[in-house]
Symmetry: C2
Subunit: 413 residues, 2 copies
């Protein structure tokens, strides 16, 4: 029934009450209209919330993103944090099923339990993925130091960083992905609302178009430089590789089983500068052909990247080419799962350019994998002439949930 | 063949050359693959660029928007402006047909003629609508004062305005609407690139979800307050009403025949405040039920708005209700065609709130129609407690184009 759920009755008290009862039983099924509801069009269906891993990681990348980082306010207690995560999990489970964030009541003298803008919209493959920032585990905050994930620490300063603290860091992360941006916005907004008094939003980012594929069944999209990048990304189908490169290691605390780490980078593209580069320069910068996406050592997108191939003037894939420096062969076999989105946030009058680029998100077993690759890229990547890393954050991503149970439940056990 | 065009061969020199030849003939048709290409899925097709009116006004509202305002740089001449509009028209005509902005060449030592991020994407119902701001007609600028549209002047200060000059005004407007945000972004970016040296971008706005219907066949969407608004909007099917309220009057200069006026307002919603209001208060503010969209004097969305109906405590639709103050009956019969979009531009740390709201766009025969309605709304609308108008602009919108000819051609004749 995954593609058959709609938000029918979303805003009516009766519909809300029924939905509340369902959620109260710890289920995400919406009863009653299976037989009469036709299969939903592509991109409208429902992604299961519960499972061994959180959804929104290897889920085939949806088209749109709303990402938000929150800080826990001073004075909030460990119990507050625990209750927040439980409330957030319940609301996320409901919203991914196409239900209001909280059961609606019939009391018109109270503020509505859901903000309403997603009423009537299908689940749109919404996923909500939660992450925990390094600050949560600091001594004298919530007594969680002993359960700190082994590999969780603020990212070190990296070459070519030009970070804005207002777009970096955070105690908690919410990554909402959906095929309808209004559904993703609605999820973040309602979680922010539920968290009022315990968390404040630190920054948020809308991504209007996916730039990564997380399944081999998806076509590689183009980024705002007009190129297909990340063709050799980890995908959901590579089970063994995911175990090696993505999912948390055995030495992590028990609550991280099935988890991973999320790195987010707001990468501003200097697209006006890029647009003045010749096609030759652009292709040498990526190490790929623009039209086909093929590496300079092949003619089709998925042809092998032959870093050793020589031409008349040296290596066919130049020393500073992005594809060479990001390749596993150049980085001791390191692979990341990328889940990035293009963004634009209007015109930057100070720079006289569109504020646009790539909101890079990667998931990996160890954030040091990202650090090692980016250290090399930050020093040598020919792309650096055209980009600036202006935001940065890292989060531990707890494993998946059992039906009806909160995320990171074992963290507080 | 409207739904059958793809960007096949978009990035190859051969495809580009062929496309160039087609465009040179003043046609937007893409020859050759009609018979073999299956019909495109909904939302991927093509909207005709040429016609009596510019597309993107009564065209059934697409899902996504990228709007940009530009200023003509000091020193640019009348000939520069004329050439720019011709180049922009040609590029827009090509892009709405799913082609690169300019024909691609086979010279890899030159920057690509198109930025490439829409390669492989369908036309996605792209429309590009051009507007001319009041400043273009100032004395001693381009010698256009004698052909100034009769009703074009900067909007007066309006009650409750809190305008940011950096988000207001502009000499030229480009409204790109599409069902794929990457296609809309690509259009604005390539027009900005083509205009380099003659115009600089002044501001730009991404809209992630439509809030208006411009056809009676479209469902009324919800705004970020969770309400259906604009149910009584002008629609494409009301031919007589469009003639009366939308299309330029007979006393306008000849080049405005088939044209109209565009008003843009960036309306910030104080959604955190709104979310604390009771359902009763919210419904009294709009004068509609949240769940159904029905006026408080009915039970279904399109039931009549009965401003005279009385309840036990006074009028059923309260004196300050948005639906009352915006109603034609309250405004001497004035009607607008609205084409608004929800936006969010991240988190506003200064206010501690999401920077989100409604990018309001209306088209009307006379901007004074907007001024009159907004003067009343700015003074009396119960919504004012929850919104701020922070950006504002007005543009004359020339009539439509003949195949192969530039927009506003008669302005320079």
């Amino acid at each position: 029934m995954s593609a058959k759920v709609s938000r029918r009755g979303f805003l009516t008290a009766a519909g809300g009450a029924a939905a509340g009862a369902v959620a109260g039983a710890g289920l995400v099924a919406v009863a009653g209209d299976d037989d009469e509801t036709p299969a939903a069009p592509p991109g409208t269906g429902r992604v299961a919330f519960d499972g061994a891993h959180q959804a929104g990681i290897i889920t085939p990348a949806q088209d749109r993103l709303h990402f938000a980082a929150f800080d826990v306010v001073p004075g909030a207690t460990r119990a507050d944090l625990r209750e927040l995560l439980a409330a957030w999990t319940g609301a996320a489970r409901r919203m991914t099923a196409g239900l209001p964030a909280r059961p609606l009541t019939a009391n018109p003298a109270a503020p509505p339990a859901d903000t309403g803008e997603a009423a009537g919209l299908p689940p749109a493959r919404l996923t909500v993925t939660f992450g925990l920032g390094p600050g949560l585990f600091a001594a004298e905050r919530f007594g969680l130091t002993a359960r700190r994930p082994v590999r969780l620490a603020p990212l070190p300063a990296l070459p070519a960083d030009e970070l804005d603290p207002a777009r970096s860091g955070g105690d908690l992360a919410v990554q909402a992905c959906a095929d309808d941006p209004q559904v993703a916005f609605h999820a973040v907004r309602n979680l922010a609302r539920i968290g009022r008094g315990v968390v404040v939003m630190r920054w948020s980012q809308l991504g209007f178009g996916r730039t990564s594929s997380t399944s081999s069944a998806q076509e590689t999209p183009r980024n705002l430089m007009g190129f297909k990048d990340g063709t050799n990304n980890l995908t959901a189908e590579e089970t063994d590789e995911l175990r090696r490169h993505l999912w948390a290691a055995a030495d992590e605390p028990a609550w991280m089983a099935g988890g991973t780490y999320l790195v987010a980078r707001r990468i501003r593209m200097l697209i006006e500068v890029w647009d003045r580069a010749s096609l030759d320069d652009q292709e040498a910068t990526f190490g790929r052909r623009r039209a086909s996406g093929a590496p300079l050592t092949g003619s089709r997108e998925r042809d092998p990247v032959d870093l050793a191939a020589q031409g008349a003037d040296g290596p066919l894939i130049p020393p500073g080419a992005h594809i060479r420096l990001a390749a596993p062969e150049t980085n001791d076999g390191i692979r990341l799962l990328r889940r990035g989105y293009s963004f634009t946030d209007g015109f930057d009058a100070e720079l006289g350019q569109l504020d646009a680029g790539l909101f890079f998100v990667s998931f990996q077993r160890d954030p040091q994998a990202f650090v090692r690759v980016q250290t090399r890229l930050g020093r040598e990547d020919a792309l650096n002439e055209y980009i600036k890393h202006v935001g940065s954050a890292v989060f531990a991503v707890p494993g998946g949930t059992r039906p009806g149970r909160p995320v990171a439940e074992q963290l507080f056990a």
